[in-house]
């Protein structure tokens, strides 16, 4: 045999032009991942005769007569490779999608290479961790705690799927072999705005292997939104599965289904589409003008291209500004960015032997996707099953149904399984992005710094479709304004349709954008007042006795379950002053320090609900089913820890299944920081109910008071009397008792979390290079259910914040075409770009969130970009008000004299 993968001979020959990555996966070895398929992310790293290579760049025929080693072949005699073990100990992953390639790279480094990780890990991108945990793994640092009965909550337990992740056996969305599979590919619009006059399919259908072509004439004429929310009415029904009008470059035009991906691609290329090109508008301010090309006339719009206008006022800002000794007014803007989760979007749909339809997908909201699919295709809900297995990152990008519909439609028509996996380019041109927003801030203050008026005006570019447009706009006008106590506040904003890629959900969700503006403006105001950043915030920031209020005086369900903002500021101030971090480099560098704070309600203002089910099993362990999605956020682990803690057992004694419309109770979806406060609450209520079920049954059969009984790891105890759970189960079940429980949770009231970021940096006055010298972050997230995971979530959010601030930029030409739709040209932070951030926790215990916890995965990102801008302003005296601060965008505003 001439091809060998993990010491096993492979009988197939590669196709001409096939890369090694797909050749390996065709052989059923799914541990080798596709992050980019272009050699940029390293997720596909394997060894060829012991030498690490990006298998997506390696022509497969070159593996002939060589040994291919994947992460699945790294174990030796049933023992993990030391690097696999190190990744377990340091928990050097979150979603885990990069881990296979990261491990294969680290395991191949020599001592000299290990001493220069920024250089030698530049070919391995991780979007989740911020790289600290990966560096820890290289250095053999352990971050996990032992799993002790009754002590699960607050312990740094490892991810329950650790073994599968580090050995490559954890199954992500595309990691299954499906017989008789068809492949779907999509032709995307080259025009920003065009009407489809005709589509000649004849050449496409003539291509061998092409099975079916779908165009706008083949889809249900039902309008919907790809955005997923509990309340479907918050997003406008403004799109079709396939439309006869393209409204952005990259919109789906037609789908081709074929026996192979190659044939489907060829089919797309062979479609002859006649377009009538329409005038396009890309700037939201221009789009609001009279005479601008109108994108939609579907009855959802407020006026013209303005999808929605939101406004409010408390007090009277006019009198507030009249009262002010100092007024600051400036416009700040934030850029469009892509989530760049390493696992691209994708789904596989089929009709099962049960006659039902099944959709295996990469989503943050399988239940909402289920509802939308039932609506679109007229499916009775029972006849459809939507589920995730492991999801390789989301960050809000998968709060969107962008691949499931076409796969399902094709499988319904053709009767065969259909798979569609996005390319990395499609992620950039055909998924969603963070909404670009421009925010004008006007602040008035007395001479002592007390705010007298706060006014914000936001213009949000929602792109070609309005999903998440109103909710992100509302969020931008919400919590960032609540952060400050001020009698007079006013805000208004427009979410505007343009011929750009649609905005979507993205970690921080609207609040990120206006937090950037307001936190920069607070420093600008402080500068005018001669105050520092800490003083102006302490003077005005919301305190535990204040009303939490933005610009609406209606009653609110947000309240302080705990308060640690003051402690966060103190922690950051002390950490920045402690002399740690790097000194400024020698030469023509300016050094400066900046801070910013962010505030986020734990959970969305719209409806959100979840549910849990638990059972005691015959062997004395527990089964937990919860609907929420795990995509690297760690919720599965914290859910079993919450359950284990309440049941007095070990985390490992709780088996968990999640995000499956057949196997788990309903959950709205894992987004808007709800994994802990809603799904976690459901788990806590369910575990408490099961706990009570068990001890009361023990009390009943022993005729003793229930208060005397307690649950320990594998038994119920009453003083010295002990009944093993296995025995209790047997007795109870034989008597017809059921040891199970089901509870639902609903998000209200909502507590509030706080973050403060501190940055000391240096900027080169000539080249504009920015080096972060010291990065510190304090979070008030209540009690950390799993401190290691919470630290990881915060580090990852901060790293993503640095990407937004410094390196990421979606660049477009004058016709709305993206110029850099590849990870080599759209720079998510690599190891070398990501400073280590000291993470600190305020010592709070929430009275609303489950077991004292609050939301933690999201809010941290919001404070980073403004802290960087404030540090740059401190260093140079120049306010950089428009993200991102890449050297070529700032160099000409830097003073060249030291």
């Amino acid at each position: 045999m001439s091809y060998t993968i993990d010491s096993k001979a492979v009988s197939q020959e590669p196709r001409p032009g096939q890369c090694l990555r797909t050749f390996i996966r065709d052989a059923g070895v799914f541990g080798v991942k596709k992050g980019c398929d272009q050699g940029d992310c390293g997720a596909c790293t394997v060894w060829l005769d012991g030498v690490p290579v990006h298998s997506c760049l390696m022509p497969a025929h070159r593996a002939k007569d060589k040994q291919v080693t994947t992460v699945q072949g790294l174990e030796h005699d049933g023992h993990l490779h030391p690097v696999q073990q190190a990744f377990c100990d340091a928990q050097a992953f979150q979603c885990g999608f990069c881990a296979a390639g990261m491990i294969m790279t680290v395991a191949a480094l020599d001592e000299e290479q290990r001493a220069d990780l920024p250089r030698n890990l530049k070919g391995n991108l991780c979007r989740c961790t911020g790289y600290r945990a990966i560096e820890d793994a290289v250095h053999g640092i352990r971050s996990t705690d032992d799993d002790i009965a009754g002590a699960a909550c607050g312990a740094s337990l490892p991810n329950p799927f650790t073994q599968g992740i580090v050995t490559g056996h954890a199954r992500y969305t595309m990691d299954v072999a499906v017989e008789n599979l068809l492949h779907l590919k999509v032709l995307r619009s080259p025009h920003a705005h065009a009407r489809i006059v005709s589509i000649d399919q004849s050449k496409a259908r003539a291509i061998p292997g092409v099975v079916e072509v779908f165009t706008w004439e083949d889809v249900p004429r039902k309008l919907f939104s790809s955005a997923t929310h509990e309340d479907h009415l918050v997003d406008p029904d403004d799109m079709y599965v396939l439309d006869n009008v393209a409204r952005f470059v990259g919109q789906r035009v037609a789908a081709v289904v074929a026996e192979t991906e190659a044939a489907a691609e060829a089919g797309c290329r062979a479609l002859q589409v006649e377009y009538e090109i329409l005038p396009a508008v890309f700037d939201p301010v221009e789009a609001m003008q009279d005479g601008a090309p109108i994108l939609h006339s579907k009855g959802n719009e407020a006026k013209g291209n303005i999808f929605v206008t939101i406004k409010g006022e408390v007090g009277n800002v006019e009198s507030g500004f009249a009262e002010a000794a100092v007024v600051h007014e400036k416009t700040y803007s934030t850029s469009r960015v892509q989530h760049a989760h390493l696992e691209t979007h994708g789904s596989i749909a089929w009709r099962g032997e049960d006659g039902r339809l099944h959709v295996r997908t990469s989503t943050q909201a399988p239940f909402i996707a289920h509802q939308k699919l039932c609506y679109l295709f007229g499916i009775f809900p029972h006849d459809l099953h939507v589920f995730t297995e492991r999801v390789g990152g989301g960050f809000g990008g998968k709060q969107e149904m962008v691949s499931e519909d076409l796969c399902l439609m094709a499988t319904m028509k053709l009767g065969r399984p259909v798979k569609w996996e996005f390319t990395r380019e499609e992620q950039f041109i055909g998924a969603t992005t963070r909404h670009q927003m421009t925010t004008k801030v006007k602040l008035g203050a007395k001479a002592d710094g007390t705010l007298t008026a706060l006014e914000v005006h936001v213009v949000s570019n929602t792109g070609a479709y309005g999903g998440h447009g109103s909710e992100t706009l509302a969020a931008s006008l919400g919590s960032p304004l609540s952060a400050y106590r001020c009698k007079n506040k006013k805000a208004d904003g427009h979410a505007v349709y343009t011929n750009m890629i649609p905005g979507g959900g993205f970690r921080g969700y609207g609040a990120s954008q206006s937090t950037f503006a307001i936190e920069c403006a607070m420093d600008d105001l402080a500068e005018k007042l001669g105050m520092d950043g800490f003083a102006i915030r302490r003077k005005n920031m919301i305190g535990p006795d204040d009303v939490i209020e933005s610009v609406w005086s209606d009653p609110s369900d947000v309240s302080f379950g705990s308060y640690g903002l003051d402690e966060c500021l103190d922690l950051v101030e002390a950490a920045l002053a402690n002399g740690e971090g790097l000194p400024a480099p020698e030469g023509n560098w300016a050094e400066g320090t900046g801070i910013a704070l962010s505030v986020l309600e734990s959970g969305p203002p719209t409806e959100h609900r979840s549910g849990g089910e638990m059972r005691l099993l015959p062997d004395g362990s527990y089964h937990l089913a919860v609907g929420s999605t795990e995509m690297g956020n760690g919720s599965i682990n914290s859910h079993r820890q919450i359950a284990a803690s309440i049941l007095g057992t070990r985390g490992n004694n709780v088996d968990i299944i999640n995000a499956d419309t057949d196997l788990t109770p309903y959950d709205t979806g894992t987004f808007a920081s709800t994994g802990t406060v809603v799904a976690g609450q459901a788990v806590a209520l369910t575990a408490k109910a099961l706990h009570d079920n068990i001890v009361s049954y023990a009390a009943r059969i022993t005729d003793t008071p229930v208060e005397d009984w307690s649950l320990v790891d594998d038994a119920v105890m009453n003083g010295n009397r002990r009944i093993e759970l296995t025995e209790l189960y047997k007795i109870g079940t034989e008597a017809g008792h059921r040891f199970d429980a089901k509870r639902k949770a609903y998000l209200s009231p909502r507590t509030i979390a706080f973050n403060v970021q501190g940055v000391r940096l240096a900027v080169h006055r000539v080249t504009g290079e920015v080096r972060v010298l010291h990065s510190v972050h304090a979070a008030d997230i209540g009690r950390p259910i799993n401190p290691m995971q919470c630290r990881g979530q915060l580090e990852g959010a901060v790293a993503m914040g640095y990407g937004w601030a410094l390196t990421e930029h979606m660049v477009y030409d004058d016709h709305g075409k993206m110029l850099n739709p590849a990870l080599r040209n759209y720079h998510i932070p690599a190891f070398a770009d990501t400073p280590r951030t000291k993470i600190m926790f305020a010592d709070t215990h929430d009275t609303i969130g489950p077991l004292g916890a609050k939301a933690q995965g999201e809010c941290a990102i919001n404070a980073v970009a403004p802290a960087v801008s404030n540090a740059l302003a401190n260093a140079t005296g120049v306010r950089f008000a428009h993200l991102p601060f890449s050297p070529d965008r700032i160099f000409d505003q830097l003073s060249v004299t030291a």
């Binding site: 032009g17 890369c19 272009q38 530049k122």
Partner: protein, 276 residues
């Protein structure tokens, strides 16, 4: 990624097995760029891997690098002490965006023939006054000066099917002192500007500007110039709109750092000379 338009892979042991060169043929060296994007015009890959050219040979004449030499070999090259410019090999290899894993596969010739502004093997070989040996599909081999090879972004003088066979770096150039400066929008990212200066025993200056411009620009000064002379020479060689416009840096930025780095290089080499 899979190149789904490819129908055949040819793996010649000798080049004369490849007689014709229909459109749709493409040389496959490391494949690290070829496999990174759809190549819709390619239906046949002709793999150079089996030709067995010696990667890198050192002699008194200089260094002979096969086009198929992996870039990692350049990164690890350590020259003799009498070649002060030898550390440029590593410095240029490290100026590439590619990971060490890619560098182990990507070839020097591939980097040069891609002819991208940030192709640091172009920077290296032009700065060291290399000559390239080209093998046409028919006709005699020809030798060209490295600085004349790249004509524009992603364009060069190769005729269809013509191969870059090898790169000769003369010992005289390796015997010079050097200074190098680089700007990138991200740490260890793709070059926005990569400038190299070399200076020989007769106190000259050869300034090579790459990445900032669509093709390499080389400025020769018989004697170490003044700051004003360097500025004037750049003014004369590169028009204000002559800087490369791409997502790795705006033209204005590339122009700005080009002048800055040129002066730094001039000053560094002048300081070395005056100490010597």
């Amino acid at each position: 990624m899979d190149l789904n338009t490819v129908r055949a892979v040819r793996t010649p042991a000798r080049l004369d097995e490849i007689a014709d060169w229909p459109s749709g043929h493409a040389w496959l060296a490391g494949g690290t760029w070829l496999m990174s994007e759809p190549q819709l015009a390619v239906d046949t890959l002709v793999d150079l891997h089996g030709l067995g050219w010696e990667d890198l040979a050192v002699s008194g004449e200089g260094v002979e690098i096969a086009a198929t030499c992996p870039i990692s070999k350049v990164a690890n090259f350590v020259g003799p002490a009498e070649w002060p410019a030898a550390p440029l090999f590593k410095a240029c290899a490290h100026s590439l965006l590619m990971s060490f894993k890619v560098a182990g596969v990507a070839t020097v010739g591939g980097n040069i023939c891609m002819s991208l502004p940030a192709g640091a093997m172009i920077s290296l070989t032009v700065a060291l006054e290399a000559t390239y040996t080209l093998w046409p599909r028919d006709g005699a081999p020809r030798t060209v000066y490295s600085g004349d090879f790249v004509t524009a972004n992603h364009a060069n003088i190769l005729a269809p099917g013509e191969l870059l066979r090898s790169i000769h770096i003369p010992a005289a150039a390796l015997s010079k002192r050097f200074a190098i400066r680089r700007a990138s929008l991200t740490h260890l990212g793709r070059s926005a500007a990569l400038l190299i200066g070399t200076s020989g025993p007769d106190r000259d200056l050869l300034l090579t500007i790459t990445a900032a411009t669509p093709r390499p620009i080389q400025l020769r000064f018989g004697a170490l110039p003044s700051a004003e002379e360097v500025r004037a020479a750049i003014d004369a060689a590169i028009p204000a709109d002559g800087y490369f416009d791409d997502v790795n840096g705006t033209p204005a930025y590339k122009r700005h750092v080009t002048y800055h780095f040129a002066e730094e290089i001039r000053a560094e080499l002048a300081a070395v000379e005056s100490k010597a």
